[in-house]
């Protein structure tokens, strides 16, 4: 009988903790986190540069591991914000062990700090001190300047793409035009009337260079997916859609800290997903790429390797994304025209699965065997790529 693949596959190699008889510690929560990480890495004989995974269960804002990684200067390829209270850290270790055993990460840091006693003595929020006294970097350093979010952050990335590569508003607009052609075939889509590049450019500027029709909808929406083992899937009602590969990378929380405004974590998430799948961009039949804004799609096409960096504008202008195109994309009409209830990622998976099952009706991509669902979170912050395949790809 062979051993469980996790058995003795990983080990704890560095530790640190801090406490004081006064019941209080100097420093803010985030300073204490940094100190613990520094000491634990020292203990292990490792440095911050060795760390490629981060687990943390509580944050000052809306996304603990994004905010912590930004503070720490990390772009982890494995991330965990699982929050279950006191047991969070055991769960982080469990997740990390599996991740490391499978090669998704090599060095993971699990960290926690909290200063409820000293915060209470200072008249602060006690246990709420975890939230930096309510001050996030975004509130302190970005918000006062009046950038409209989220569109303004994407607009800054688009501004940079235009400057570096000569990408035009017309090229960005063509993404919305092609997506709308798919929506016309989806009876549940919010926007089904055909549009032209001129329509997009004539729509109001939301944050230059992005126009209203470069931006996703705001709608209600909901979705779910169920996963099980390949063995179990073989006996169920529908043809299995296999998870062939998956990868993740987050690079920042605020657009101000994005390392390169024209390159997302999709470079890493896509590379990892394709590596695990043993496939490349040329093997993909249909893509569902998070389209919060047209620039989001352009960057995904480049970063996942469907075209070279900087060539996204020319690539989309040829019309590959439309029905019958070389790279059918966002075949449900996307966040730009189908639905966008704030966090759209579930719809990417649902549509990819329907395409691979051959259930997409009028908008079915003939012979689709390999699909990519590529999610984007925050402001081009967190990218996650899933490569899915039909029975033929197994």
């Amino acid at each position: 009988m062979s051993a469980h693949p996790l058995r003795a596959a990983t080990a704890v190699v560095g530790v640190a903790d801090a406490a004081d008889p006064s019941g209080m510690l100097d420093g803010t929560v985030t300073e204490l986190e940094a100190r613990m990480i520094r000491e634990a890495l020292d203990d292990a004989g490792l440095t911050l540069a060795d760390v490629d995974g981060l687990a943390i269960n509580n944050g000052a804002g809306w996304a603990a591991s994004l905010e912590a990684a930004e503070r720490l200067g990390l772009a982890p390829r494995w991330t965990d914000s699982t929050q279950t209270g006191g047991s969070s850290f055991e769960i982080h270790v469990q997740h990390a062990a599996a991740a490391i055993a499978l090669g998704l990460a090599e060095v993971v840091v699990v960290v926690y700090a909290s200063t409820p006693r000293s915060s209470h003595k200072r008249g602060g929020g006690g246990f709420r001190s975890r939230a930096l006294g309510g001050v996030t970097p975004a509130l302190e350093w970005d918000l006062p300047h009046g950038l409209r979010l989220p569109m303004g952050a994407y607009a800054l990335a688009a501004s940079r793409h235009v400057h570096e590569f000569g990408t035009t508003p017309e090229q960005l607009a063509s993404i919305a035009v092609q997506t709308r052609e798919w929506a016309a075939m989806n009876p549940r889509a919010r926007l089904r009337d055909p549009i032209t590049v001129e329509d997009v450019l004539a729509s109001p500027v939301e944050a230059s260079p992005l126009h209203k029709l470069d931006c996703c909808l705001v709608t209600d929406g909901a979705g779910a997916v169920v996963l099980t083992s390949a063995e179990r899937a073989a006996d169920l009602a529908k043809p299995p859609v296999y998870v062939l590969g998956a990868g993740t990378c987050h690079t920042h929380a605020s657009i101000t800290s994005m390392p390169d405004l024209t390159t997302t974590g999709g470079v890493v998430s896509g590379r990892e997903a394709f590596r695990i799948a043993g496939l490349g961009p040329g093997d993909v039949d249909v893509v569902e790429l998070y389209d919060s804004f047209t620039i989001t799609v352009l960057l995904a096409l480049e970063d996942l390797g469907f075209c070279a960096k900087g060539e996204g504008g020319a690539f989309v202008a040829d019309g590959p994304l439309r029905p019958g195109g070389a790279l059918p994309a966002n075949t449900n009409g996307g966040g730009l025209a189908y639905t966008h209830p704030g966090q759209y990622g579930i719809f990417l998976l649902v549509e990819a699965a329907r395409q691979l099952r051959g259930e997409a009706g009028d908008r079915q991509v003939p012979g689709a065997e390999v699909a990519v669902a590529h999610g984007s979170g925050g402001v081009l912050s967190a990218m996650s790529t899933v490569v899915l395949g039909s029975e033929a790809t197994r």
Binding site: R38, G133, E140
Partner: protein, 148 residues
């Protein structure tokens, strides 16, 4: 409420007061004298932005606040036709930029320009200050005079 406020340009009295973190306190203190200080990691010999109370490269806590030149360049820019909500930004349309300061750090700033649409990537800017009602100042970017 003034007419200007109704058009979305906050007066000093109506402008949102940025919250102040412990790590950012030296920046805000210097802003009272309209002086731009940046946090530097002494061992790394490099400035970083935003202030965290530690260096984002080595995680060391030997931080020194040093005066900045106040010069920089527009890295990316977007014109905002509306304010996200009252109390922030300027009178629309106004430009918000990511500015690369001479010290090698990137900061988000509103660009105070006669014509927001004329602000372009690579434009030279300098730091200016807008008064806040509590005596602090908010940094802004001012287009530098074109070379003679």
């Amino acid at each position: 409420m003034s007419e200007r406020t109704d058009r979305g340009d906050p007066t000093t009295a109506d402008r949102m007061l940025p919250p102040e973190s412990p790590a950012g306190a030296p920046f805000w203190a210097a802003s009272r004298e309209r002086r731009l200080l940046l946090p530097w990691c002494v061992p790394c010999g490099a400035a970083h932005w935003y202030p965290r109370g530690f260096c984002p490269v080595c995680l060391g806590d030997e931080i020194e606040w040093r005066p900045a030149s106040g010069g920089g360049r527009v890295h990316a820019v977007s014109v905002q036709p509306k304010v996200p909500f009252p109390g922030v930004g300027g009178e629309p349309p106004y430009a918000v930029a990511l500015v690369d300061l001479d010290e090698g750090v990137r900061m988000m700033l509103r660009v105070v320009a006669d014509d927001a649409w004329s602000v372009a990537v690579d434009d030279a800017v300098s730091i200016g200050w807008e008064p806040l009602s509590d005596g602090r100042h908010l940094p802004v970017a001012l287009p530098s005079d074109p070379p003679a």
